[in-house]
Subunit: 338 residues, 2 copies
């Protein structure tokens, strides 16, 4: 991630700010931490470091003692209470992301995405109800789109347990704003990619496993015919969105989509991979039975509300973003299980 | 409840059917059980009999050995597995209903309305995925109405933790239909009243505590100015709605509002109470601080979809319904803590 690529107007907002990032050792959390340290924030990360998650201590290895890392659950009162009381902004990123895992072990997803969130919010409202909190939700809450691009007025039509649970967590944030004065914003992320993502498997995102296979010189697998459209954001753009929203009180209580200029088919993305890594190839495989029930077909989001209210636009093209991403993983294969 | 008042067309549908009612010893569950026994169903009730709930063994005292009662949680595999395998229809009524309790102990509401529901649905999909299931949800999911009357297309805007959790439970039902073939319908209930409701306090419904106060010769308390509009259903009409929906496969996967012909102000309802019980009176009190944040203002629902698809209409007027209700509690004061 090149910080110069981020043209955040209100970057002085974060100088000296006390920031807590839940899920802070994961993909998005670590990229956000790196950027916030550049901006002069006082950064604390909390993370369970659980094995199925995006947490990877290498993600924050370059930060050394500039960042405080607390290992544990975000709902653990003893750990969290002393942190919350002193914090200005929380980037609330912790939680399970795998749709498939949420069907195979729905209780683990419920615990992570609902029970822990409720514990955390209860502590926030008791100890520091005026804090600013930006919650990472997902485009998955819209389910199969009724129209494209999907804006924030689109109905919520969840198709898997992860979606049910993320909606519940969004709703807790809204209720805690209305009743206790918390100041939340919700960002509904689409496929995010870039340095520090989990690439061992497809738990965070199918691009993870594609990066791994490409670098290992194996074939990328496309489920179905490869015509499904998706949108993608480089993590630097996602970080920029979080910072812009956190710095603006006008964004309190609102929900924003992210998204990209132009959706791409899975086949088109595979072609970019092949152009960037000649040792890989594409294999079309039948749609796995256990994914069929929860697939959402074509999806791309409308990010105009976020643009209008914060000036955010995605600035990384898929070609340059993937090129930088592949370089990162070529340099750090062992650290990411490639 | 006079069963003659129920003109259910498809009543033969229930003859011989194996029916499980979760929360079966509560207000709605017990009234449903009584009706189903009249229709010739084989009825099993499961209930935690927890002290804060609507469960009251007197509710089903008249049924004797005609009904099987299992005491425990609906998510308890040992108890539930043998029941689910043999069941045709589940009326899924268990869960906490108090908005205020859900703010004061959100984890208990979460456990009851989400965790236990997910446990139950997991057992259903594993053991008997084709079963018919009718889930009791609440008009509270709509929050403060954007328009009146509120139809099913109205946005979900929860205002309290109970609302968040009921939405999650609704969504689990939808996901389990799409992925596993469960056959659910959702009924969003408004204020239900009638014989066998909890009247010790306002946990189920403010009409409960009004009934208790009226019969005890104490003053009924109205919060605010008494102009708030609400709609109400006599429990016999609610039972009729559940039976009609359960008997129709066309209702699978759908969500229906209940509602009444004409909304009434709290003041107008208080006047009915006074006309029916001369020893009571009305006291206007300021809106309690802890309820202000979660009050939804005027509310009445549009039940035309349910009417169109099942022929359901509410058949009890508030005057006759409340008159019958007060008679029931005059006869059974001690059993309901009056």
């Amino acid at each position: 991630m090149t910080s110069a690529a981020l043209s955040l107007e209100g970057s002085h907002f974060f100088a000296g700010k006390k920031v807590l990032i839940t899920g802070g050792v994961g993909f998005l959390g670590s990229n956000l931490a790196i950027r916030l340290l550049e901006l002069g924030s006082d950064v604390t990360l909390i993370d369970t470091l659980s094995s199925g998650s995006g947490a990877n201590l290498f993600n924050i290895g370059s930060l050394g003692k500039d960042v405080r890392v607390v290992v544990g659950g975000m709902g653990d009162q003893k750990l969290i209470a002393p942190l919350i009381s002193r914090v200005d902004v929380v980037f609330n990123l912790a939680g399970k992301t795998s749709h498939l895992d949420s069907m195979e072990d729905p209780f683990q997803d419920l615990d992570s995405n609902v029970v822990e969130q409720l514990r955390f919010l209860e502590l926030c409202r008791k100890l520091n109800p005026g804090l600013r909190i930006i919650f990472a939700s997902t485009r998955q809450v819209y389910g199969k789109p009724e129209y494209l691009p999907v804006d924030e007025k689109h109905a919520v039509n969840v198709v898997d347990v992860n979606g049910v649970n993320k909606v519940a967590a969004e709703n807790y944030h809204h209720v805690f704003q209305a009743v206790y004065g918390l100041r939340p914003s919700i960002l509904r992320l689409t496929n995010s990619y870039g340095p520090r993502m989990r690439v061992k498997d497809a738990r965070q995102n199918f691009l993870g496993i594609w990066v791994k296979k490409a670098i290992a010189g194996e074939a990328i697998e496309i489920f179905g015919d490869g015509t499904q459209l998706r949108d993608f954001n480089h993590v630097a753009d996602v970080v920029d969105a979080f910072l812009r929203v956190a710095a603006r009180d006008e964004c309190i209580g609102k929900t924003y989509n992210l998204g990209s200029e132009e959706p791409l088919s899975l086949r088109a993305i595979a072609d970019i991979f092949i152009s960037l890594e000649s040792s890989t190839s594409v294999k079309i495989v039948p749609f796995p039975e256990k994914l069929k029930g929860i697939d959402i077909g074509n999806f791309y989001g409308d990010f105009r509300l976020l643009e209008q209210e914060t000036g955010w636009r995605p600035r990384h093209s898929m070609e340059s973003g993937l090129s930088e991403t592949l370089d990162f993983y070529r340099e750090n294969r062992a650290q990411y299980g490639i």
